[in-house]
Symmetry: C2
Subunit: 93 residues, 2 copies
DNA sequence: TGTATATTTGCACAATAATGCAAATGAATG
DNA sequence: CATTCATTTGCATTATTGTGCAAATATACA
């Protein structure tokens, strides 16, 4: 997981909505459920999910004809905390 | 400071270079010093600094004809940690 | 006041990214 | 094996963003 890629993935309003939506769920969601949170076409949501997945923010699991997505909570949180630590630290501290 | 704005501000390679450069310094830098880390025009760096400033990531202080920029370390770190916590937490936990 | 230096801004252009629609793919089921 | 449903992908269009150059602004200083 690369910091820059993650930030880029999170830089779009619809992707943030999608991520928030996924974060609010305890169980993985299929694309249709994810798409409820924004007004764009389902194909656009699919593409956004793909971007989030490539950034390592979410993971996909195929079950039958559906694909279930869930947030890689620990990994994303760890990356953000590590970035926080790097930013907080001056070169002398 | 808004999460989405911050992520958007951090979604460009040159702005990340600029931020890393500023983070590596203990003292505020003027635009020329900041610009060393990337090959784009000085005016472009100035614009990137403006975007980072509007996002609340850095602050500017004018001294004479120079403008010195520094990272708002604590604030940015706090925002990232808070975001990490939100992402980590499921709706039932 | 005129000149030099640091930074910002106006503007045009190039590059990237988001979007919707239609078609393609993959999988269950009659 | 045809049909249906969920998802993805190709393609064209639109919207947004990054960039460089020239000019404007702000400040110091001779």
């Amino acid at each position: 997981m690369q910091t820059e890629t993650v930030f880029k993935a999170l830089s779009d309003p619809n992707r943030m909505k999608i991520l928030n939506n996924l974060c609010s769920k305890d169980c993985p969601c299929n694309v249709g459920e994810v798409a409820c949170c924004c007004t764009v076409d389902l194909s656009v949501v699919s593409r956004h999910l793909s971007i989030l997945k490539n950034a390592g923010i979410i993971s996909a699991e195929k079950r039958g004809k559906e694909v279930f997505y869930h947030v890689n909570r620990k990994e994303v949180a760890a990356l953000l905390r590590q970035t926080a630590a790097t930013i907080e630290k001056t070169c002398c501290s």
